[in-house]
């Protein structure tokens, strides 16, 4: 186990005086007229497992490639550990990359693949071989040294790619959709492997992914990207519970979104008029009367019952769809105005009389569960 | 990074092939242009200089006589037109034979597909001169074809094919067929089978699907393959000389004759320049097909 305090525990980004390990300042990348990355600024701290999350075309891969040195920024600067990176070629940077396609050298054995980076550094062959053996043990590939990439399964190839990129002990490891090609079960196992390795070695990871579950599992912090810009940066909990925009709320997990206008302002409740009726939410500073905004309510915060419940927000509806998922059930409830809400509820063991299709139900949630989104 | 140095390794790699091509491919065209504007002389070299120093002054002598001579003598114009005609007909014939072959190979499963491709390419590796020569033995009046046809009673009199345009067409299609098949194959093999399946699923017949789906999608391959035949055939020399007769008028033969027989370098150059101009449009068509993704 490492001696330093894990970034996940120390949370240096909360400390104003902490020095960031990676400083991305005003980075823009244009291809012709199109800005793939648009004025992005980001600070990442040592030991973090930082995820860049977004859909296709949001610019996350381009940003990663600029960190690695495969693309030159049109504007802006990148500093890694205090060192300015502009003009520094990909082969001279203190970064290593794990490619989405793994990019293993097909004509070299696993051993030669992993040792390649060390040999380029000038490490002697015996030492390189010995360190390669250790690294292969770390990724649980002992005995695979002499095999060729085409003889390995997808999961094994992925671990070789990881070993190869870690063996040089880079200051920064960049991972491009590392788990994308794996099936679901393997992906879950590998996610925890990745965290374990990262914590053991203390290397700063930046991971690009479009899978929000993956981002939530792996990260110390997430940077959500859309159309070349960083939309929100924060710890997974913050991103989930306090999204700053409809885009982020919708991207992470499931959410119900109401569009409405601010109505009356009262000391501890605020009312927003929506198509489905008035919704109460916790007060937010700086809003004006009749201002248009969105309300986001997470499905698991909505309570479902056959009887009426006292709550800040209480509505009635009919169950349109029920999906039994094992650990929980997902309900689609149709309201009086025709719109459907997604509600999830944990399943108790051996429910005698579970709520089913076409039943009339009461749904309710607290004011605190209504998140106000001004964008 | 070494990119700031002028004499870097990277610049060397860029420079070497380009300088070679510029010196030995592009500059020669300028020389041809220059000599096409000269007069023939009994001298070494056998043409007049383009500029001379006379009494300390630079004197230019541009002679457009070669071009007007070509324009006036109908031989040249006819040769150009005839060459284009032969090239066009040969290309169409090659398409007619080559498209089904390319299609069949592209649709064949492995390992048959690789074997067939190998068979298409194999003749290409044997000498083209010798393969054209083979047709002499087949097509001449006392040749194999006539022997077989006479012996089997299909004809009474031997067919006169040798030294006619027909022989030239056969020779050209024969020689250039692989050039048409390969780009066409490269294009057809990339066609998504599921597109055809979708077509059948929506009720179209095989023939209709071919004309509506496969043919339009294979268009870049057709264009690329056709241009790879059409353009070089315009200037063909060997096939018309070996298989064609004195009536077979092709500009490649004319150019060869101007240089080797008439020793008239300026006219030969003028013939070449006009040939280049004639080829500009088909070359542009080829480039645009390449840009649309046809693989040569």
């Amino acid at each position: 186990m490492s001696e330093h305090l894990l970034a996940a525990e120390a949370k240096p980004w909360r400390d104003e005086t902490a020095k960031p390990f990676v400083r991305i300042k005003g980075i823009t990348k244009k291809f012709g007229d199109l800005a793939a990355v648009d004025d992005v600024s980001l600070d990442i701290y040592q030991g973090e497992l930082f995820c860049l999350l977004g859909g296709s075309g949001c610019g996350k891969s381009t940003l990663l490639r600029m960190l690695a040195g495969f693309e030159t920024p049109t504007m802006g600067s990148i500093e890694i550990d205090g060192q300015e990176m502009s003009g520094v070629g990909a082969n001279l940077r203190p970064t290593n990359m794990m490619f989405q396609s793994y990019a293993l050298f097909p004509h070299m054995s696993v051993e030669k693949n992993v040792a390649y980076g060390l040999l380029r550094e000038g490490v002697s062959k015996p030492e390189a071989i010995s360190r390669t053996e250790d690294m292969l043990s770390l990724v649980k590939l002992d005995g695979f040294a002499k095999r060729k990439p085409h003889q390995l399964s997808g999961g094994q190839q992925q671990r070789v790619a990881l070993a190869r990129s870690l063996i040089k002990q880079p200051k920064l490891l960049l991972l491009d959709e590392p788990l994308g090609a794996l099936d679901k079960k393997l992906r879950e196992e590998t996610q925890f492997e990745l965290i374990r390795i990262q914590e053991d070695l203390g290397v700063t990871f930046i991971v690009v992914t479009h899978d929000q579950e993956e981002a939530m599992t792996l990260s110390t912090r997430i940077g959500v990207m859309d159309a070349g810009k960083i939309v929100q940066v924060g710890e997974p909990r913050q991103i989930y519970e306090d999204p700053n925009s409809k885009y982020v709320a919708d991207f992470i997990g499931s959410v119900n979104i109401f569009d409405g206008e601010v109505d009356a302002a009262a000391p501890d409740m605020m009312r927003v008029n929506t198509g489905s009726g008035p919704i109460m939410c916790a007060p937010v500073e700086g809003l004006t009367a009749n201002q248009k905004l969105h309300i986001a309510v997470r499905p698991e915060r909505i309570h479902l019952s056959r009887t009426k419940v006292e709550a800040a927000n209480a509505l009635q509806g009919t169950v349109d769809e029920v999906a039994y998922m094992g650990n929980l059930s997902v309900y689609r409830v149709r309201l009086a105005d025709g719109r459907c809400l997604k509600v999830t509820a944990a399943n108790g063991l051996h429910e005698e009389n579970p709520i089913t299709w076409d039943e009339e139900v009461h749904i309710s949630w607290s004011a605190a569960a209504s998140t106000v989104l001004t964008q | 990074m070494s990119k700031r140095r002028f004499f870097s390794g990277r610049n060397f790699v860029i420079a070497m092939p380009n300088l070679w091509l510029i010196l030995f491919f592009m500059v020669p065209f300028l020389v041809v242009l220059k000599i096409s504007l000269a007069e023939p002389r009994i001298a070494i070299p056998p043409y007049s200089p383009l500029w001379e120093w006379v009494n300390g002054e630079l004197k230019w002598s541009l002679n457009f006589g070669n071009y007007s001579y070509m324009w006036e003598d109908s031989l040249y114009i006819n040769a150009y037109l005839s060459s284009i005609k032969v090239a066009a007909i040969s290309t169409l014939l090659a398409l007619f034979i080559g498209y089904p072959m390319a299609y069949y190979i592209a649709r064949s499963p492995e390992p048959r597909r690789s074997i067939l491709l190998l068979l298409v390419v194999l003749p290409f590796w044997t000498s083209f001169l010798l393969r054209v020569y083979a047709w002499i033995g087949i097509l001449k009046t006392k040749g194999i074809l006539n022997e077989v046809l006479l012996w089997s009673g299909i004809i009474d009199e031997p067919l006169i094919i040798m030294q006619t345009d027909v022989a030239v067409y056969i020779g050209i299609v024969y020689t250039y067929l692989p050039f048409l098949i390969l780009p066409l194959y490269a294009n057809l093999v990339k066609l998504d089978d599921t597109l055809l399946e979708a077509s059948y699923d929506l009720g179209a017949s095989r023939i209709s699907s071919f004309f509506r789906i496969t043919l339009p999608l294979s268009w870049p391959g057709i264009v690329a393959g056709s241009m790879l035949v059409f353009i070089p055939v315009i200037g063909e020399f060997v096939i018309p000389t070996l298989l064609g007769g004195p009536d077979t008028l092709m500009i490649g033969k004319v150019l060869w004759g101007e240089y080797f027989s008439n020793r008239d370098w300026p006219v030969a150059s003028a013939v070449a320049m006009v040939m280049l101009v004639v080829m500009i449009i088909p070359i542009m068509i080829l480039r645009s097909a390449q840009n649309k993704g046809a693989e040569i």
Partner: protein, 263 residues
Amino acid sequence: MKLRFTPVMALFGFVFLYGPIVSLVVYSFNKSKLVTVWGGWSTKWYVELFQNDQIMSAAWLSLKIGVIAASVATVLGTMMAMVLVRFKRVRAKAAMTGMVTAPLVMPDVIIGLSLLLLFVAMEGMFGWPAGRGLTTILIAHITFCMAFVTVVVQSRLSDMDDSIEEAALDLGASPTRVFFDITLPMIAPALISGWLLAFTLSLDDLVISSFVSGPGATTLPMVIFSKVRLGVSPDINALASLIVLAVSIGIIISAILMRKKSK
């Protein structure tokens, strides 16, 4: 069996392609000189072929030229392919592509004449090349063969996953290292095809060699052409059969090697 249009046409096509080659080989064993008379099986034309000094020395010259021209053309052509596919931030790539495509379709008579005129002009201005012969043929062949190599290598390079080269760069290898460690092994088959293509084109070239050659440098195609203009000549058939044999063996060997590799 249903007679479908495509397979029938394809069969016809292959018969068309191979008929003449078969006839060449068969008649190389015909004792009689005439095509119309079958004089029985004989290998006398092969004997005559090997005793013909003119043909043999021309063949040797052509082989020499072929090997040298193909090798230089492969190096230059690969360089050009790398520039066009892998090098970023190079200006005038479109012009370079045009310059590489043109030799592929340019009629031989134009290439031959233009290079000859260049050599004559250069000789007049600089004294080099002094007279025409082996050197000028070499230069000419390298020039037009290079374009073919470029196309072959370019095709393989652009199909290749360039993230593998990026990975090597990322692990600290210099661009030169990346080329020799990673790129070269991966494009090796294309380099070999390119070399073979260049070799064949050089060996087979008649028109360009005729223009740029000089006294004492007569290539095999030039000898064949002058013989063949006069009519059928069975020793040429023998030569043709030997070439067909050599090519067939070569292709079969390479096919076997390819099958072995993919196992």
